[in-house]
Amino acid sequence: MINDPNYNRRYVIAGIAVLVVLTYIIRLFILQVIDQSTQGKAETNAQLRQTIYPSRGLIYDRNGELLVANQPIYEVTMIVREMQNSAFDTLSFCEKLRITTIEFEERMQNMMNSRKNRGFSRYSPQVFMDQLRQEEVAALQQELYKYAGVDIRCRTLRDYMYPIASHVLGSVGEVNQRDLERNSYYSAGDYSGRDGIERTYEQELRGEKGVKILMRDSRGRIQGPYQEGKLDRDAVTGNDLHLGLDIQTQLLAERLMQGKVGSVVAIEPQTGEVLALVSAPNWDPRTLVGQERSKNYQALLRDAHKPLINRATQAQYAPGSTFKILQALVGLQEGVITTKTQYACNGQTSYPIKCTHDHGSPVDLEEGIEQSCNPYFWAMYKDLLQQDGYSDDNAEFKGHYQTWRDHVMSFGLGKKFEDTDISEQAKGAVPSVVLYDKLYGKRGWKAITIRSLSIGQGEILVTPLQLANQTAAIANKGYYITPHLNRNDSMKLRIHHTSIDAKHFDVVHRGMARVMTEGTGKWYNVPELQICGKTGTVQNPHGEDHALFIGFAPQDNPQIAIAVAVENAGFGSTWACPIATLLMEQYLTGEIKRNWLYDRMVNANLIDKADEE
């Protein structure tokens, strides 16, 4: 080929070949050597990580009574690609699941709609139907091999032994988008505690998910365990939870509260363990399990009585006359009164606060408590705040107010319990100097301005939990252990001392005992229980007064401290006190002897009264 004018074209052709190969080698270098991201993709691609769900920890009451267990629930999954590549007998499949072909099509469309089902892939198992019971999948399970790509997975749901304590126990539901973003432990479709102790103790209860890694091909067919199962991990069962709750007391409390709006909190004073915690109205925790959960939850959300609010920890009331116990203690501590101090009472004509009870005059402290004498506590409060008069800028007065406030707050009022496992608390309120300065001007308020505080009205607010805890502190003569649900020793160490010396409590206890023997609680007393109590009727500008009661028993060795609040019920002595004494009777003696009272309380329907508001 001499004189070939196209001689050089051999180099062009060879050059093209070199160029192509060079380009590809560079591409390979980027793919294989520089870019490391494909490694992980390959792993997830070929491995089917089967999650093994642990069973959730069980929940017991203080006597080892099982409250919450687990029940198996099934879901049917489907690998669309495999199913569509096979001769899928839709008709018999529907028959086995007892659904119509129309429903089948609907479910398929929903499942394959990547807007509704974000993680949809034709190549991996997708949930076709969930929340099925054993008997609902039994037919399909037997002939599962006939349906390519279909599988049945088992999960566990909560099973409640008693239809009560919904606010305490809370519920378990599917994790939401926020949980997924916050905590990498969860993947979509996982369950977690949504509220109550299920949420507080989620970490302990949930256990640890296990994983079984299987090799699969692109059709999802299992080819065997990955690396002979070396990387598999068993699920770790969740830890059981033992609560301080006494299920019999709780049961009784819920029965007594039926047909009422309000709450009951009972605490064991020595330990701070919550024995019963009721918010009424409530719901059967079984209704928030499984398929019906979201529907029933929506109904609860819409309910006019707002049952989802935990009134025991979130409702705030003025403490009313129950507050006189604290007033007395502060007075004693500050030396404003002694156990012997007497004040005059002019009954209905007393000024500025009249007395609502009929008794002699003058009264001493014990009788003042027994008779819930308003003038006594106003006079004492005035003496406490004005003992040094008002200097130019009310500084002395404000100083004493601040002292009073500190004493009150040392009983756990006006703030949330931080070191507890009870979720969703309200703060309550013990009004500050700053607040009154704002309301009335720096020099615009005096003892007379805030006189309502002396009898527990006005700007002061407490939650039933705070009230019960404060009662426990009174029973303990000066200290409380943060109220808590989990019966575990470390919780008992969370001890808080009030600023009142122990020696001041005896006289107050005597006064509270007299409330039950001679005062407002005498109709419902159980003498052998040595009950100490104080009723309260809280003025409610929106309607009928709220009935309150605090108390503990027995007087010389308190085992139970209770606060009861019944909204729109009227007198505390009529509604709140009997509930409390019945509970004490149940808890301390194990039975109810006063059946007439039990029947009256259970059958009383005050909820309609509340509706009239």
């Binding site: 080929m1 052709i13 070199v18 192509v20 390979l28 793919l31 190549y123 090799m215």
Partner: protein
């Protein structure tokens, strides 16, 4: 009759060696990719690897037989072979069973064959025979009419009647041989340029303009056309003067467009066409005046590429099937669809990438072994190489192919008769095309076009076809040595 000893001495052992290394490596990878947990016997002839071994053995025997046949036979019987082959291609769809929409398989007893795989070889012989005629010379495109027909007829049958786009496109590779024989380089440049313009028009077609209305893709590709023309004028034709006038004219067109746009919204597509029309007319006048045919080629380029730009937008949206359109959109990064159209390529990239530098080791690849990659032992076999042998293995295989192709070019250049040389170039072209398209597809650089990797992919037809192709070339080359001795 020359003795066989001299033929053996004339054989190019380098080529044989490369062929064997590639084929055996391919066989190992077929075993690797069809290996499953249930079946571990490498010698089981009922599985893919076992079958491929049979194909390979028979292919070697076939190659041996070809080496014994008188080399003159190919030259003499070239057209008859070609004619029989065309008849076979036409007959195939009539008797073929429909396999995944393709009508290219003939089943004879236990074996299925794809005549299209052999068509390349006989077309190469026919083309070589025609182009090596005494006195034949490629002066302009008219001289290539017959080779174009020889190339186009089987291509058309395979594409239309057998519905095998991939196998049909392979025939384009003969252009390389035509080019070596004197076909103007413009044809190759046009090919490259039209692919480039197509990509530009589609890729930027849906983007908005800063001002006025129009198709950004068309504007960009128009600009590219202007640049190419300007480059050709100045660098190749040494027409600096015409180049400047052309550039000024184009700028003027756009300037007027922008000016009018202040008052009336202008569709800049028309401005682009106007500027191209100006260039075409101006250059045509220059070509006629100076009697320069090469400038006529440039005018042709302008016209064809203008049509292409306007046409491919239309073709893309109106003619292409939705699934083909998606394949292209995914390739150009306009759409992401890991489970749909992009699935194959995406899985293939994951498999290759996971191999990293040294690979996971023979039979250790999870991606290919677990059948994540479709067509894993045929069109996507390169994935297995990438996954199990890593960068070193896959780059090594590419270098083996390069070595083989360069060796064939070397062989082609040392031929003393034109027939052997053209034929060898056809072989080089076919191999280069297959390797480029197949690996480019697997690497996600080219759209998914199903053609096998030579000597490597599973399949008797393709292995036989390529072996025959190569054996004939070796036979012709061996004859050259004999001729020199004789």
């Amino acid at each position: 009759m020359r003795n066989n000893r001299s033929i053996i001495s004339g054989i190019d052992w380098w080529t044989i060696g490369l062929f064997l290394v590639i084929a055996l490596f391919g066989w190992l990878n077929i075993y690797g990719s069809s290996y499953s947990f249930d079946q571990t016997n490498i010698w089981d002839f009922s599985n893919r690897a076992g079958k491929q071994l049979v194909w390979l053995a028979t292919a070697v025997v076939m190659g041996g037989i070809i080496m014994m046949i008188e080399e003159k036979a190919y030259d003499v019987l070239g057209y008859i072979f070609y004619g029989v082959m065309i008849l076979l291609l036409i007959a195939t769809p009539i008797f073929a069973r429909d396999i995944k929409g393709s009508l290219s398989w003939l089943t004879i007893g236990p074996i299925s064959l794809q005549p299209a795989e052999f068509a390349k070889c006989f077309t190469a012989i026919a083309i070589a025979k025609y182009m090596s005629r005494y006195g034949y010379k490629v002066r302009d495109l008219r001289d290539l009419t017959v080779p174009f027909l020889l190339m186009g007829v089987p291509m058309l049958i395979i594409m239309v009647a057998q519905r095998e786009t991939g196998s049909a496109l392979v025939f384009i590779s003969f252009l390389l041989a035509f080019y070596r024989q004197g076909m103007t380089g413009y044809v190759l440049s046009w090919g490259v340029a039209s692919i480039l313009l197509f990509i530009l028009v589609i890729r930027f077609g849906e983007m908005a303009l800063l001002f006025g209305t129009g198709n950004l893709g068309i504007l960009i590709s128009t600009t590219v056309i202007h640049m190419i023309v300007l480059g050709l004028l100045i660098a190749k034709e040494k027409e600096l003067h015409s180049g400047i006038i052309m550039a000024l004219g184009v700028v003027a067109c756009y300037g007027i467009g922008l000016l009018v746009n202040i008052w009336i919204a202008v569709n800049f597509n028309y401005i682009a066409i106007a500027s191209l029309a100006f260039v075409a007319i101006y250059l045509l006048l220059q070509a006629l005046k100076q009697r320069k045919s090469s400038m006529g080629w440039i005018v042709g380029f302008v016209l064809v590429s203008t049509l292409l730009c306007q046409g491919c937008d239309f073709a893309f949206h109106k003619i292409l099937q939705p699934h083909q359109r998606i394949r292209i959109e995914v390739l150009l990064g306009m759409k992401d669809d890991p489970h749909g159209a992009g699935y194959n390529v995406n899985q293939s990239l994951i498999a290759i990438g996971s191999g990293q530098t040294t690979g996971k080791g023979f039979l250790q690849g999870t991606q290919t072994k677990l059948k994540f990659v479709p067509e894993q032992d045929t069109d996507f076999i390169f994935c297995t190489v990438g996954e199990e042998w890593g960068f070193l293995g896959s780059a090594g295989l590419l270098l083996l192919y390069l070595a083989l192709i360069l060796r064939i070019i070397y062989i082609a250049e040392r031929q003393r008769d034109k027939f052997s040389m053209i034929y060898a170039y056809c072989v080089a072209g076919i191999l280069l095309f297959h390797v480029t398209i197949n690996i480019g597809m697997v690497l996600g650089l080219l759209p998914v076009i199903g053609i096998p990797l030579p000597f490597f992919s599973y399949g008797g037809s393709s292995l036989w076809g390529f072996t025959i192709l190569l054996a004939i070339m070796l036979r012709l080359d061996a004859a050259r040595v004999n001729k020199m001795q004789g």
